[in-house]
């Protein structure tokens, strides 16, 4: 297991009477990690604590082995793409990057090279000479990402990075994020758009009401949720024959017919055993189609949040 880049040790953060993050202990290793949770769950607080923008009210938060709060030197190796759409609108895209690269300690030649590289990475070379005030929302979002990437940090914290982007840009950024993860960088992507997270990574950190609900591979999380029955929907030529053959299995908890008559929806506590036994029944009843509506992250999330 790779060494943790970000570590929370019994970290809590409250604002007056409101506890935003409650006794969180977790580590984030190199690779891409999706940070998921509904609004007000504590995602932003967790990200801000990791980015050293907030001090924990209790506990510790370290990033690359150093305390996140009060250590400006970590920003040589950490990049943050913040959520608010905010810029110095009077600057051009290139000037914006050059100014921030200067504050990261690069000399002039290297600043220019890195700025050009970052602009190319987010496909903003043509607009680099225009004022940011005239950029579209998607362009502004890409510029935000560029400033986080320009100094090639080891840790990238991305707060809603795909917001406002067109589909082509989204795909590019998602591919970029996956590539950075493969290169060994630690990338934390915070979002409430589940299918986007799923496209980038299977490693997730689910947060709700300031607590970590679950952490790990989303598929493994699903498998671990034994008490929550798996739902499998099957379409067959002879749905009643299919129903007869599966209902006798001890793992089947319930069975229902679809309104159109061809569908049978089964709930099972042991999906692996159910799938093993299925082929025989499938051939008999002529199964045409099969899917499981709760194999995805959304169902994992909904289930955990509802609990």
């Amino acid at each position: 297991m790779s060494e943790a880049a970000i570590e929370f040790r019994r970290a809590s953060r409250w604002y007056g009477q409101v506890i935003a993050l409650n006794d969180v202990t977790t580590t984030i290793s190199p690779g891409v990690t999706g940070l998921l949770g509904p609004n007000g769950a504590g995602k932003s607080t967790l990200l801000k604590l990791a980015a050293g923008q907030l001090a924990p009210s209790q506990g510790e938060v370290t990033i690359l082995g150093q305390a996140a709060w009060g250590s400006p030197e970590i920003f040589h190796r950490v990049g943050l793409c913040p959520e608010p759409d905010a810029f110095w609108d009077g600057l051009t895209g290139r000037q914006f990057l050059l100014a921030l690269l200067r504050l990261t300690g690069y000399d002039e030649a290297e600043r220019r090279a890195r700025a050009d590289q970052a602009l190319a990475l987010v496909d903003l070379e043509d607009a680099a000479g225009r004022k940011v005030g005239g950029y579209s929302k998607g362009m502004r979002q890409r510029l935000k990402l560029a400033q986080a990437l320009a100094h090639e940090p080891e840790v990238l914290l991305l707060d809603e990075p795909l917001s406002g982007m067109d589909p082509v840009s989204r795909r590019r950024v998602m591919d970029l994020v996956k590539k950075l993860g493969r290169e060994g960088k630690t990338v934390v992507v915070s979002s409430h758009i589940l299918h986007e997270i799923e496209s980038m990574t299977r490693r997730v950190l689910l947060i709700h009401n300031g607590r970590i609900l679950a952490a790990g591979d989303s598929r493994e999380l699903r498998d671990l949720m034994d008490e929550h029955p798996h739902t499998v929907s099957l379409r067959a030529r002879d749905p009643r024959a299919l129903a007869r053959s599966v209902v006798s299995s001890p793992h089947v908890l319930s069975l229902a017919f679809g309104s159109e008559g061809e569908w049978v929806t089964v709930q099972t506590a042991r999906p692996d055993e159910f799938y093993s036994a299925l082929p025989e029944a499938a051939i008999e009843a002529g199964v045409l189609e099969m899917y499981s509506p709760d194999e995805d992250l959304e169902s994992v999330f909904k289930y955990l949040v509802a609990r």
């Binding site: 609108d89 004022k131 005030g133 005239g134």
Partner: protein, 281 residues
């Protein structure tokens, strides 16, 4: 071929626009302002001079010596309104600085103008806020003071030859409120930052006051006071109430002309600045 040449017809609304379209803007802005305790406190403090004057009036009606030492006559209302100009300024700065600036910064102006509202309605709505606040510290307490005077000293004030007091109070209050409100709105429309707008308003007033002082040093003529907005307002009040101060002894139409020019300039500024979108070049 542009779209409007391809048989595009503008939308013809079936329902007529409501008459008092600006009113919701005024009402909601007032509600937000008056929900702030600091602002309510400011309004209460603005009414304290009324209490002092009422006590003064009570004293002069009870003690003849008091009338000799500190007379209370028809000019007192003019003095009172001059005093209230200071409070009106403070209320305008803190209530008016962000009225348009905040909308420009957040883009809320686009939300307003995407409703069946014209730019005129928007400006009227915002103007209504400041007018309401300023009149509440000028017209309202002055009229109340006049009512108190009529009840406590009716033999003194309930005379036909003093019937001009109430209309004079109304005119002066409206002039003060309107001019200050327009200037504040115009400055607010020039910035996207309420703080900058507020400070710009203060800077303008202070700068013009000091400029007036310097010009008076150069020319030693009362007309140098025309440069000062407060002096112009006081000059109008002096003409209405017959208590023109020594340093303001110039024809009141000059002051009126200056105030009209200021109002026109403010309206022109608002016309240019109140727009739904800003083109960034």
């Amino acid at each position: 071929m542009p779209i409007y040449d391809q048989g595009y017809r503008p939308y013809e609304a079936r329902r007529p626009l409501r008459t008092l379209r600006f009113w919701p803007i005024t009402r909601e802005a007032l509600r937000l302002l008056l929900a702030r305790r600091a602002y309510l406190g400011l309004l209460i403090v603005s009414w304290l001079p009324l209490v002092a004057r009422a006590i003064h009036l009570f004293a002069v009606t009870r003690f003849a010596e008091a009338q000799r030492v500190l007379p209370f006559d028809e000019r007192t209302f003019g003095d009172f309104l001059n005093q209230q100009i200071g409070f009106a300024l403070i209320i305008t700065i803190f209530g008016g600085a962000g009225l348009i600036a905040n909308d420009l910064r957040t883009g809320a102006i686009l939300v307003y103008l995407s409703r069946p509202l014209t730019r005129r309605d928007y400006v009227l709505g915002k103007l209504g806020v400041l007018l309401a606040l300023n009149l509440s510290v000028t017209l309202a307490p002055a009229l109340l003071l006049y009512s108190i005077a009529l009840s406590l000293a009716s033999e003194e004030f309930l005379k036909l030859k003093l019937a001009w007091i109430a209309p004079a109070i109304v005119v002066q209050s409206i002039v003060v409120s309107l001019v200050l409100s327009l200037v504040a709105l115009a400055i607010s429309s020039l910035s996207k930052n309420a703080r900058v707008a507020g400070l710009a308003f203060v800077g303008l007033l202070v700068g013009l006051e000091v400029a007036h002082g310097v010009l008076r040093g150069i020319y030693h003529r009362p007309e140098s006071a025309l440069l000062s907005l407060q002096a112009d307002l006081r000059a109008i009040g002096g003409a209405l109430f017959g208590n023109t101060e020594r340093w303001l002894r110039f024809p009141w139409p000059y002051a009126a002309l200056v105030l009209i020019a200021v109002a026109i300039a403010c309206l022109a500024t608002l016309r240019a600045r109140v727009r739904a979108v800003e083109i960034v070049r």
